[in-house]
Subunit: 370 residues, 2 copies
């Protein structure tokens, strides 16, 4: 199998660890944050800018790319890496989460999910086999199994049903997957129920996936509850496989996730809040669109080494955002992604030095202002 | 005066010439095309990208920057160059054209123009003195006089009145201007009337501006008529001063303008059509948004050396444009600006070799497909 993982350091004070994730498109240092390139582009950025911000690996959305431009177009282009000019590793999700959260009129059966396109209303059907076929056409480094992601709140019986179906679908995904180079990850479901998480992990571990995701979190539950679920779920996952917390990217959650033993994250948060005019800083978020920054000639975050902070003021970026200029969103996106990826770098350094607990405490105090 | 100009080559076959325009922020090779950065940003681009596309000098709009973020904010920031991180030359227009074309409820008197902001409806007043004061605060390398730009068609008497007023306003602009380093250009008006163009040029030449613009063209008149007006107007302008054709940027018009002795151009065309999904090529425009490019894995223009053409296919850019992704507009903008600036470079080479007529004939044949 072309996707491998090894732990390189364990933190003394927490469950955090650093590792190396080997993929066909290069080695990734973990814990890693993957920027999201939903439609084969990290919104507003070139691949070079993602790389300059510290990006090692990105995530693309199977659901979106299947609908537009279509996975066959991307296959013809020579795969997703060539199509979008990103030569680093790519993880594709399975489309499951989007089918369940974006597509109208979905109907779930044992066979798969019928849904309508959120773009043009056309009718489609995703089965585990189809989700794998599309991801093979895209040619990502890591594919995800097609799962049923439950919402929050979700009652026990429904969560249990989803766990059982996700396991049966995982078996079918594994059977349909025929790409040596492409790793495939399982997804542990089970909502907030400890015994269901155990059951889900137990079933998936038998299939010996290249890595394991914790799914069904960051779907509206309180953060404390997410941390509790992680506390009981992460220990169920194999030590020598990467552990991936899907859809998480708020700076405080990244720190908390790492301290609980998570190796991989993805989230639209840094790029999405940028488009709303919000910048992430060590002292929390600032809404740079606000009037108070109209004559503030400091960079978004004093001391930050990103392209935006080296050359532009809050006053200028605010002007661009207010005037609807794309460059304003670009600069804020660059800063937020740099901030997030730099945080991951500092986290890896802290773990290497066995100081993750101290680093986490200090960061959370500064970021949350508590 | 810090803004100077010298002719370096005269073409044998046409009225074209190359020159050097010296400004406080560097020397510009002419004929030059200035990309438009209306709101202190060339739409979607960083200054480095403008430079990489071949940009030497940009234009910013006084009307827009006066309204938002306000010229006082830019003055406090240390001027427009620092505010927007562009260290090359900047020309600012006077705001006249925008007041006459964008602002509602304008009222023209001898003193100046009262108008309402197109952003929030607030009431403002621009006089020649005010237009100069704002441009001094912006700190551009070249300022323009506050003129009355007539529309097309425009009757003789109104065009004559505008010529007279523009001349009186030019005198007031010159008197109000107090920046040694900043050059100031006059604007010849007169619509399509030869005797008014003569009258306008005669009056302005007495004021000894650092350069002269031909105004009131590219406002809806047929191209042939514009060329006729240029034929009779350019010879009225001093040989040793730069001649600037305002608002012109279609590739064929650039070539025709140069052959008639124009040294400077500005236009939103390359950046604006990019946002509509249109790419400029040597063989004319292509609408890359169109379905025919869905599986076209060629670059926007085969053989082009721009960043977009080196790394991305029409199929990818079309996908981005259809999906509403900013990167699609960015890549098309980069290409279009590179195309336009590369055309100017080829034009300068052709003039140096005394082959502008031949170059122009070949280019127009290829671009217009005639």
């Amino acid at each position: 199998m072309a996707v491998r993982f090894c732990v390189t350091h364990e933190d003394n004070s927490t469950a955090a660890r650093t590792g190396l994730l080997y993929t066909p498109h290069g080695v990734v240092e973990t814990p890693v944050f993957m920027a999201v390139g939903t439609q084969a582009t990290v919104k507003t950025m070139t691949p070079e800018e993602v790389r300059e911000a510290g990006g090692q690996m990105i995530l693309c959305n199977t659901y979106h790319l299947y609908l537009r431009p279509g996975h066959e177009v991307i296959r013809e282009a020579g795969g997703l890496h060539r199509f979008m000019n990103w030569n680093g590793p790519i993880l594709t999700d399975s489309g499951g989460f989007q089918v369940f959260s974006l597509a109208p009129l979905r109907r779930i059966t044992e066979e798969g999910v019928a849904f309508r396109s959120h773009i043009d209303g056309s009718l489609h059907f995703f089965s585990p086999e189809k989700a794998v076929e599309v991801q093979m056409a895209l040619g990502s480094d890591i594919a995800m199994v097609f799962d049923e992601c439950t919402p929050y709140p979700c009652d026990y019986n429904y969560a249990k049903e989803a766990v059982m179906r996700t396991e049966r679908w995982a078996v079918r995904c594994m059977a349909a997957h025929r790409r040596e180079y492409q790793g495939i990850f399982g997804i542990v479901q089970g909502g907030v129920y400890r015994d269901l998480r155990e059951k889900s992990a137990e079933g998936l571990l038998k299939l010996n996936f290249a890595g394991y995701a914790v799914g069904g979190l960051s779907v509206g539950e309180p953060k404390e509850l997410m941390y509790e679920v992680l506390d009981c779920t992460v220990p169920l996952l194999p030590y020598d496989k990467p552990r991936y917390l899907m859809g998480v990217g708020s700076p405080d959650c990244l720190v908390e996730g790492v301290m609980r033993g998570i190796d991989m994250f993805d989230c639209v948060l840094p790029t999405r809040v940028a488009r709303n005019g919000t910048a992430l800083t060590r002292n929390g978020k600032i809404v740079v669109r606000n009037a108070e920054y109209a004559r503030d000639f400091n960079p978004l975050e004093p001391g930050c080494g990103c392209y935006a902070c080296r050359h532009y003021s809050r006053a200028y970026i605010r002007h661009l955002l207010k005037a609807g200029e794309v460059l304003g969103i670009r600069l804020t996106t660059i800063h937020n992604l740099h901030f997030t990826l730099n945080l991951m770098k500092e986290i890896r350094e802290a773990i290497s030095q066995g100081k993750m607990a101290e680093f986490g405490r200090n960061f959370l105090k500064s970021y949350l202002g508590e």
